[in-house]
């Protein structure tokens, strides 16, 4: 038909973008108009928090504490990654904290010496993730196929999985985790050399991916937007990777780059790839933006919803394992407290919209970092738990207020 014939030879993009600063500025304005604030507010927030506590507590701005913060944020970050996808759909998953508990309980149960069903720790972790994936599938199916609101389904899940944990642990009260593989997720530290190697690997891989993308665009005759930004990102990732390793290698106890931190970064990379570079991720954003349009475009909307709930429960299992490994045990209270709300708050603070369709995985990373830093800082400075909750609450409120204002700007400028 006609479009194919009427097409001119390739390499004639309609957009003549201004380059350099003007181009960057226009992109930023476009993002702002469409309600994307980007990571700028949160990065400024983190810098402010770090500076504040550095003055407030003498042992906050130390290499040791830096490693502590990484380990403290790991579990929450993993849960928050899953939350990002759920929120992108405009849904909610309230069950994750106790699904994380089920994950932790499963590994604890499967590594229990003398229980008769003792298996290798690595295998136990895979089983735990698998079981939680099934839980996610069940919950997601009820949401997507039957049409029960996700709030209700996962609230029921919250109660049910809490009940299961209480039932199993009523007698022993807790199960000690002795398996070294499981405990490594929170307490393995790389040697200095291995740390440097990992930093080099991360920077190198990122460079390959970014440069590969630029080459692909060139080949297709598509404009490469703001080459300056590409270079800045490369340098930023390199500095962050090597800087982190340098500080971790400076720490006395615990010494070295923690495996938990590496896992958090690996999950960040994999899930960002999933969200941004695959059809699945694109469809998640589409369904969150306009479910009816997605359906009419031929996207299998229920399938996307179910897969997202599977993902969120699986990530909950991963987070649960790390959290359990951090204390070498699973007890009656596992999954309670602020875990659920901190995970959701991490995603929201990171700029993921509760209305669906807007947000990025890295937001959850930054949000979890904020929450871990604040609670660590307040702890180090000797404040009571009450204050920690209050401050976290205020930060959450600020973040959501920013998001709402951004959204109102979008409505005003759009259409």
């Amino acid at each position: 038909m006609s479009t194919a014939e009427a097409v001119s030879p390739p390499a004639a993009p309609v957009d003549e973008e201004p380059r350099g600063f003007a181009g960057l500025y226009r992109r930023a304005m476009d993002n702002l108009k469409s309600g994307n604030l980007g990571v700028l507010p949160i990065v400024i927030g983190i810098i402010f928090i770090v500076v504040f506590f550095s003055f407030k507590a003498t042992n906050f701005f130390t290499a040791n504490n830096f490693v502590n913060i990484i380990i403290q944020m790991a579990g929450t970050a993993m849960l928050a990654y899953g939350v990002v996808f759920v929120l992108l759909l405009g849904e909610i998953d309230l069950s994750i904290s106790y699904v994380a508990g089920i994950g932790a309980l499963t590994v604890a149960e499967l590594q229990l010496p003398g229980s008769g069903h003792e298996i290798n720790g690595l295998l136990a972790m895979l089983c735990a993730i698998g079981i939680c994936a099934v839980i996610g599938f069940a919950q997601g199916s009820i949401v997507a196929r039957v049409g029960v609101p996700s709030f209700v389904v996962t609230l029921a899940g919250y109660l049910i999985w809490q009940g299961v944990i209480l039932q199993r642990l009523e007698q022993p009260g807790s199960i000690i985790i002795q398996d070294r593989w499981i405990n490594y997720t929170a307490s393995y530290f790389f040697s200095d050399q291995a740390g440097w190697l990992i930093a080099a690997l991360i920077t190198g891989l990122y460079a390959v991916v970014v440069i590969g993308g630029v080459v692909g665009k060139r080949r297709a005759g598509v404009a490469v937007r703001s080459p300056g930004l590409v270079v800045a990102k490369l340098v930023g990732v390199g500095v962050a990777a090597f800087g982190t390793v340098a500080i971790c290698n400076h720490a006395k106890v615990p010494h070295g780059l923690p495996l938990a931190g590496v896992l958090v970064v690996i999950a960040l990379v994999v899930l960002t790839f999933l969200a941004k570079r695959t059809t699945f991720g694109r469809h998640v954003y589409a369904v969150g933006g306009n479910a009816e349009a997605s359906r009419r475009a031929g996207i299998n909307v229920p399938r996307i919803r179910i897969l997202v709930f599977v993902l969120s429960s699986s990530m909950a299992a991963v987070g649960g394992i790390i959290l359990a490994a951090n204390v070498n045990s699973v007890d009656l209270n596992f999954g309670g407290g602020t875990l659920l709300l901190n995970s959701i708050a991490a995603a929201v603070i990171g700029g993921v919209s509760l209305f669906g369709g807007r947000g990025e995985v890295r937001g959850a990373f930054l949000g979890a970092l904020v929450i871990a830093t604040v609670s660590n800082g307040l702890n180090t400075a000797g404040y009571a738990t009450g204050i920690i909750y209050e401050v976290t609450g205020i930060i959450l409120l600020l973040a959501v207020t920013l998001d709402t204002i951004a959204r109102r700007l979008q409505i005003r400028s759009g259409r």
Binding site: A4, D30, V222, T279, F280, R282, A286, R296, G298
Partner: protein
């Protein structure tokens, strides 16, 4: 199939929602290179008819012929496989996605690992917009939320023709637009017909209809009340048909599909 065979032909399509008879033995046809308007008052069954063609919902009885062959359309994918694309009244674009992402929504170019091929999609999008003379969009990487109504409608139309489609259906394409933007979209609609596509335009606005259409099908209360050639009719005649037209065939008397073609 010769040039007089309609690209799409509907025979005696009937559809009811519970006790409401939305379509009662409706016939409809559109040829390649022609802009066919589908008009009627609120509740005449225009949108229902379109949704039957697009596979959004099924129909109770009747048959659909595409290029002379009987076809069964059970979902949006069936329709797009045939080369039928619909541009909906509510635009069916995702505000949070950019122009390229919307153009390829549900049909992303990807490799064996489901990885998106962004450069190819971006390049093809730019080409399609250019071939349709849509020049008002600055960047194909702009989120759709930042576009004006006319630009959004242009994107929606471009999205529909991108897929080597043969039939493009536009549901109230100018409903939310200002004067200048309306002209822009109507010109685009005419261009589609001139490029050899079959185009169906649904509109309340007879100005739009007489600006673009070659023929006009009028529905009233879920029934056919006539097909008019734009050259040989007047807006007054069409308005009369919309508001007071008598059904061209009466259910139960015209015996089924055998003579349905004669109704027009």
């Amino acid at each position: 199939m010769n040039s007089t065979t309609p690209l799409l032909e509907l025979r005696s399509i009937t559809k009811s929602f519970g006790s409401v008879q939305a379509l009662d033995e409706v016939d409809f046809e559109v040829r390649l290179g022609e802009v066919m308007a589908l008009v009627g008052d609120n509740g005449a069954g225009k949108s229902t008819l379109i949704k039957c063609i697009a596979g959004i919902h099924g129909y109770d009885s009747g048959e659909i012929l595409f290029e002379g062959q009987e076809v069964h359309i059970h979902g949006p994918k069936d329709a797009s496989r045939l080369g039928i694309e619909v541009v909906y009244q509510d635009l069916a674009l995702c505000d949070n996605l950019d122009v390229v992402q919307n153009m390829y929504l549900g049909r992303e170019a990807h490799d064996a690992f489901q990885r998106l091929k962004e450069p190819i999609m971006e390049q093809k999008t730019a080409e399609t917009l250019k071939s349709l003379a849509v020049t008002t969009i600055n960047s194909v990487r702009q989120p759709v939320a930042t576009l004006s109504g006319g630009q959004r409608q242009s994107v929606a139309v471009a999205k529909a023709v991108q897929w080597n489609s043969k039939l493009v259906i536009l549901d109230e394409p100018t409903a939310a637009l200002g004067v200048a933007q309306t002209e822009q979209v109507l010109a685009l609609v005419r261009r589609l017909g001139e490029q050899g596509l079959a185009v169906v335009i649904i509109s309340h606005n007879l100005h739009d209809v007489f600006e673009t259409a070659n023929r006009i099908t009028v529905l009233r209360l879920g029934r056919n009340v006539g097909i008019f050639d734009r050259e040989k009719t007047t807006p007054e005649e069409v308005v009369h048909a919309i508001t007071a037209g008598a059904p061209t065939k009466v259910s139960g008397i015209t015996p089924g599909t055998a003579t349905a073609g004669a109704a027009s």
